[in-house]
């Protein structure tokens, strides 16, 4: 059997007395299965081949057999911690196809849910980054403080993860009574807590020595490779879809995108933390500007259909970068084709470039700083 028919990593290679091939994984570091095939020369990585695809669920094909409403619960499965943001482009796209105008209050509720979910995802990501670096406090603190926001999402939607809260035409239910007060109190405390992280993690010389100057992605390379989200902003490119292509009510809110110039693992790990502080700011603004009463959902017909052959592409800024959804409708109750274009997969492309010449011990810190979620990349 020749090499071309064998899966990567199993292919026979010429014996080399210096280069050794290592299979890191398939393992499940709290996120989904992934494998990285690295070739090392002593302690240094010569080549690296990330191998996604272990958690492929066929979400896009499944969506072709379900109608626009029953697609909602399974489309948020790729990232259960960020389920509102995963559903956001789909919901915006379906609204565009059906020609629905969403009530003003529903848009604000969506922004609040989306920002809460971004924080919940980022805290989980940060907790796992702590495990990757062997920093057990960095695992315990974010995993605990995340509970404050999960509690808020539970009050809004009734579920801790996979909320199924966004629907075409608004949101499923209105906010519970005196939610604004509870939300403001818990978000303020959450903000105070994550400010404390600076002393323990980001100014900590131990974490800095593990992450600084490892896996440097220059501004030019970041644009050339097409990375998105926090990885792009850590390399000095000011690109945030909430600012550049505002959807829903983001244009009425004051959104500030955080940019760092270094492009190393430290910058990539710090940008999500700065984004969380920004999210807290956006939530407070949205709570202030939100209409105090009003409808949150437009009534739809039982089985909504798109008008004729039509296609729409919408994208939002998720916790992992730009997340796009392309829906093609042919006038039936099911979409003809649904394509998710996710930030995780785009960020993974940068990994072989970043790891070349690094030490093997730096691999976890570079890999997880890319804000990559295996399940989302595989769909």
């Amino acid at each position: 059997m020749t090499n071309e028919f064998l899966p990567p990593g199993l292919a026979l290679q010429k014996a080399d007395e210096r280069i050794m091939t290592l299979n890191v994984g398939p393992q499940h570091p709290g996120s989904g299965h992934m494998r990285i095939i690295v070739q090392i020369d002593g302690d240094y990585i010569v080549a690296c081949d990330p191998d996604p695809g272990y958690v492929h669920r066929g979400e896009e094909k499944m969506a072709e057999y379900r109608n626009y409403i029953t697609n909602i619960p399974h489309l948020e499965r790729p990232v259960i911690h960020d389920s509102c943001n995963v559903l956001y482009p789909y919901v915006l796209g379906v609204e565009d196809l059906l020609g629905i105008e969403v009530p003003e209050r529903a848009k604000y509720v969506r922004v609040i849910c989306s920002e809460l979910n971004r924080c919940i995802y980022t805290m989980y990501w940060l907790a796992i980054y702590g495990i990757f670096l062997g920093h057990s406090t960095m695992f315990m603190w974010p995993a605990g403080d995340r509970e404050l926001l999960i509690d808020l999402m539970e009050k809004i939607s009734g579920a801790r993860v996979t909320h199924a809260h966004f629907v075409p035409g608004g949101v499923r239910n209105d906010l519970p009574p005196n939610f604004e007060e509870v939300c403001l109190r818990q978000v303020n405390y959450f903000e105070k807590r994550i400010r404390e992280y600076a002393a323990v993690f980001y100014d900590n010389p131990i974490l800095i020595s593990r992450t600084q100057d490892t896996g440097v992605l220059s501004r030019e390379d970041a644009i050339r490779l097409g990375v998105t989200g926090s990885v792009l902003r850590a390399s000095g490119v000011d690109y945030d879809l909430r600012k550049k292509e505002p959807y829903d009510v983001y244009e009425e809110l004051d959104v500030h995108s955080n940019v760092m110039k270094e492009g190393d693992s430290y910058a990539r790990s710090k940008i999500p933390w700065l984004d969380m502080l920004e999210s807290c700011n956006i939530i407070k603004q949205a709570l202030e500007k939100m209409p105090k009463s009003g409808s949150v959902r437009v009534k739809l017909k039982p089985n909504p259909k798109g008008k004729g052959l039509n296609s729409v592409y919408k994208r939002v800024e998720s916790g992992r970068g730009s997340l796009g959804c392309h829906i093609v409708s042919d006038g039936k109750v099911e979409p003809y084709r649904l394509k998710l274009s996710v930030g995780s997969f785009r960020n993974l492309i940068a990994l072989p470039y970043l790891l070349k010449g690094e030490k093997l011990g730096n691999m976890p810190s570079v890999y997880w700083s890319l804000n990559y979620w295996p399940v989302e990349a595989d769909r």
Partner: protein, 166 residues
Amino acid sequence: MTNTATGIIRALNSGIKHIATKRFTLRYPEEKLKFVGDGYQFDPSTGVGIAGLKGRHMLFHDHCTGCQLCSIACEGVAEAIAMVKVPDQQKQNKKSIMPQIDYGKCVFCGLCVDACPFYALYMTNDYELSSFTKEGLIYTPAQLQVKPYVAQDSEIIITKWGATHG
């Protein structure tokens, strides 16, 4: 060097401060979280849901007409709802069929509650559904009729000394 030393001292200091703060952990079987309202409900006249936890369902036999809309809503989501014959005759339920829910399959999305136009189905705060057998997870209409008793008292309390469940 001094920078490294101060950094480590700051990190340690921040950790030492947490000896005085209260513990945030919820001691689960003894303490249970307090949820909003009675559970997730849907008001078909306004078309909007009422916030609450999406736990086990509750079925009102005197409202259910056996229209199967909940079962149709579950198609393509979890296929957890099956319509079964019930012995008791209801005036509004000519076919005498009512939903039976398999909690081994249910994903607790609540689309069946949104689908019911007769206020017959809503979701309660009961989330402790574990069973030793697969059959134990299948709830018949008679079991769904029972309103669960859920003791919930703990809330997140934020004080100057940190957040705690109390």
